[in-house]
């Protein structure tokens, strides 16, 4: 047998997706890495731009304003009820782009893989990303793969970046909230963080708690088309509703007043928070959004939210106030008042 046919035979040996593991050659830029891309990533993400095999993706620039966002994902465990690090990585960046009111178009995906990581898991995660991207009507058009020695990366880390286009006439930004505006949320608080924490703490469930990880761009498109006066959109991820509302208060130099009784929390989430000593307002969400809009448009916006599958439990939870101290105050369910503070320190590590 000559050298050429021996070489082509070894190149045609496919990856052992059932039992194989990632090793350092898969990140070295050579044939092994190509195989990883061709047999795992390209079929999973399945789009013409990626199929060209270039180091970059080229596309026509759309007129108007574009937005770009990036996020890294280090969630542990990698697979959890309701999702995995892959679908989370797609939803997270799609949502960050969508929170500007933009329509997300393209994503990049960078993988840092620990030596020894099972190929079966990598394939499952890549497929999950592909499905999430297709459901959100975006494409993963470019990416990167690195492999690091055992012990240098806890299984897998993913970075995604995304770009999108803002429809004309839409001005949505964290500094636009004004006294008198209504504050709405799209559904129940605390599902994602509790799904992760409860899984880690070995809690069981009579009824399953799943992460709410979801792409919100479809919902946002409906909202923005119906109510172009929306001032602020943001998804309350790490730090939960509490952190996100405080951020907005600081950006917009306003205060807020909420009604605790209006904030939906599922009974299982409440129960888990009681057991774990958590406050649902500080717990991450991965498929919910906060919307701030002029009071006169709140009713209409609520209707749009509730007509969408991801906004069925939407509520108006309070209003923006004039407050130089920028406090988020809340009427407690028994009729007293407290404030909602930024949380000190990392309450829940590696949640997204």
């Amino acid at each position: 047998m000559n050298v050429a046919s021996r070489a082509s035979r070894s190149a045609s040996r496919r990856l052992d997706l059932a039992a194989g593991r990632v090793d350092l050659t898969h990140g070295a830029g050579g044939r092994a890495m190509q195989q990883l891309i061709e047999e795992i990533f390209r079929p999973a993400f399945d789009n013409p731009m990626l199929a060209r095999g270039d180091d970059q993706a080229a596309f026509e620039v759309v007129g108007g304003r574009m937005v770009m966002s990036t996020d890294s994902f280090v969630v542990s465990p990698l697979f959890f009820p309701g999702g995995d690090i892959g679908s989370l990585a797609v939803h997270g960046t799609v949502n960050d782009v969508a929170m500007s009111g933009a329509r997300p178009l393209y994503l990049s995906a960078g993988f840092i893989i620990e030596e020894g990581f099972p190929l079966a898991d990598l394939e499952r995660i890549a497929r999950s990303m592909g499905e999430a991207a297709r459901a959100a009507e975006v494409a993963v058009v470019t990416g990167d793969t690195k492999v690091v020695e055992r012990g240098k990366a806890d299984g897998l880390f993913i970075n995604t970046a995304g770009i999108g286009v803002v429809p004309p006439g839409i001005e949505i930004s964290g500094d636009r909230a004004r006294a008198g505006d209504a504050i709405l949320i799209s559904g129940s608080m605390g599902d994602h963080g509790v799904a992760i924490m409860a899984h880690r703490a070995g809690l069981e469930f009579e009824t399953t708690i799943v992460s709410d990880s979801a792409a919100l761009n479809g919902l946002v498109a409906d909202m923005v088309a119906s109510v172009p006066t929306i001032r602020v959109l943001r998804d309350p991820t790490r730090g939960g509703l509490a952190a996100t509302l405080n951020e907005i208060c600081h950006q917009s130099a306003v205060g807020m007043r909420l009604d605790e009784a209006a904030i939906p929390v599922r009974p299982e989430v409440l129960g888990a928070c009681e057991l774990l000593g958590l406050d649902p307002l500080n717990v991450a969400n991965e498929g919910k959004l906060i919307a701030i809009a002029p009071a006169e448009d709140a009713g209409r916006l609520l209707g749009v939210l509730r007509r969408h599958p991801l906004g069925r439990d939407a509520m108006v939870i309070g209003e923006v106030t004039a407050d130089p101290a920028r406090f988020v105050r809340m009427a407690t369910r028994i009729g007293g008042e407290r404030m909602i503070d930024w949380l000190a320190g990392e309450q829940l590590p590696r949640i997204c």
Binding site: E274, F327, T332, I334, G335, R338, D341, A344, G345
Partner: protein, 376 residues
């Protein structure tokens, strides 16, 4: 959730508030101390003071085991954690408390000490079983609620002949702390505070029963209402105290009657008396030296006593001189009376234990109530 939601009901809260407003005598003040840190937390988290008339003042007590642990004892724990081969297991609250010289368990962990957060003594035992070549020390703190679990863990370790498990014991006693608040001599030097009545702790009372408080009610003529944790429990207990004071009674009333009996939990008390005995003396942050106020392991269990096993000395330490935790723990000062509060001392950068522990008055006020200054 049964036995929970009913005690968070808005309409019941309104009616209780209405009764309190009607019955509170406008010609007098009511200074009521909630002893327990869990009650302090609930009062701020639900905004209970907004439902009370202005002449009822809640004074925050020292019932926060993290808060009353003197700096010197925390320093000992840090030194133990830094020893070779040691795994220190600790409840989460203690990790960020500042010790002497800017140290803390969290910082020691970042420097390489093996410190693990546990939710229960059972986790610490499992650590010892899983790491036979390491010395596992459980950093035990708490009033009478956490002491029985520690006792059971030591018994289990003795039964399993675990040679690598020990407890650094800082368990303290509630009645001693209440006595210290009321006793003129100890408090005179540090500043006396006039308390009209006490909200008794919930879970501590489940263990020790309502009987131990009868001494205070009789001897010092102060009414006590043992209260559950929920906002309705607290409001109902406040109403009970207002009525006692109006009627000139000084009794122990048990609002938390669904969980507290006069004798308490005999099994738990027996487990504690099998393993522990009283220390002659123990220093408390904010309350000074109090005799017979804390526990240590009996000689029969010396092998499980980290202080004897590792011969670590206690070096008293003052902590930050401007920190008002000592006065705040006695109810003599409010968090806002402390020069450091909210400026240099915050939950992100705590200088004193009252700010670190979620049950500390400063942390509760900062996180839930500091907007109040602005409305004045």
């Amino acid at each position: 959730m049964k036995h929970l939601d009913e005690y968070r009901d808005a309409e019941t809260a309104r009616r209780l508030a209405a009764s309190i407003h009607r019955e509170a005598d406008t010609d007098r003040r009511y200074r009521l101390m909630e002893f327990c840190g869990g009650h302090t937390h609930a009062i701020f988290r639900y905004g209970i003071e907004d439902l009370l008339p202005a002449n009822i003042e809640m004074v925050h007590g020292p019932g926060c085991p993290v808060c009353v642990l003197p700096t010197g004892r925390l320093d000992m724990a840090i030194r133990l954690a830094k020893r070779d081969g040691v795994i220190l297991a600790s409840y989460g609250d203690m990790l960020r408390v500042p010790g002497s010289k800017g140290q803390s368990l969290m910082k020691a962990k970042a420097d390489g000490a093996d410190i693990r957060m546990v939710y229960s003594t059972l986790d610490a035992l499992k650590l010892a079983e899983a790491n036979p070549d390491r010395e596992v020390i459980f950093f035990a703190i708490g009033f009478e609620t956490t002491t029985p679990p520690t006792a059971l863990a030591i018994e289990a370790a003795a039964k399993a002949k675990l040679g690598n498990f020990s407890v650094f014991c800082n368990h303290v006693l509630t009645p001693s702390a209440i006595a210290a608040i009321l006793e003129a001599p100890a408090v005179r030097d540090l500043g006396a505070v006039e308390i009209d009545g006490f909200l008794g702790p919930a879970h501590v009372s489940v263990v020790i029963g309502s009987q131990p408080y009868e001494f205070f009610a009789e001897e010092y003529r102060k009414p006590v209402a043992i209260s559950g944790f929920e906002p309705i429990d607290i409001l109902q207990s406040i109403l009970m105290l207002v009525r006692q004071l109006n009627e000139g009674r000084a009794e122990v009333e048990n609002q938390y009657i669904r969980a507290v009996t006069r004798d308490g939990n005999l099994r738990a008390k027996q487990a504690v008396s099998r393993i522990f005995e009283l220390r002659r003396d123990f220093e408390w942050r904010g309350l000074g030296h109090i005799p017979y106020s804390a526990l240590r392991l009996k000689d029969a269990y010396a092998a499980f006593d980290a202080e004897r096993r590792f011969d670590e000395p206690y070096i008293a330490s003052e902590g930050n001189k401007a920190c008002a935790c000592p006065a705040i723990l006695r109810g003599a000062k409010k968090p806002t009376d402390c020069r450091l509060f909210g400026s240099v001392c915050t939950p992100e950068t705590p200088l004193g234990s009252c700010m670190v522990s979620s049950e500390g008055a400063c942390a509760a006020y900062y996180s839930y109530g500091r907007m109040r200054e602005r409305t004045q």
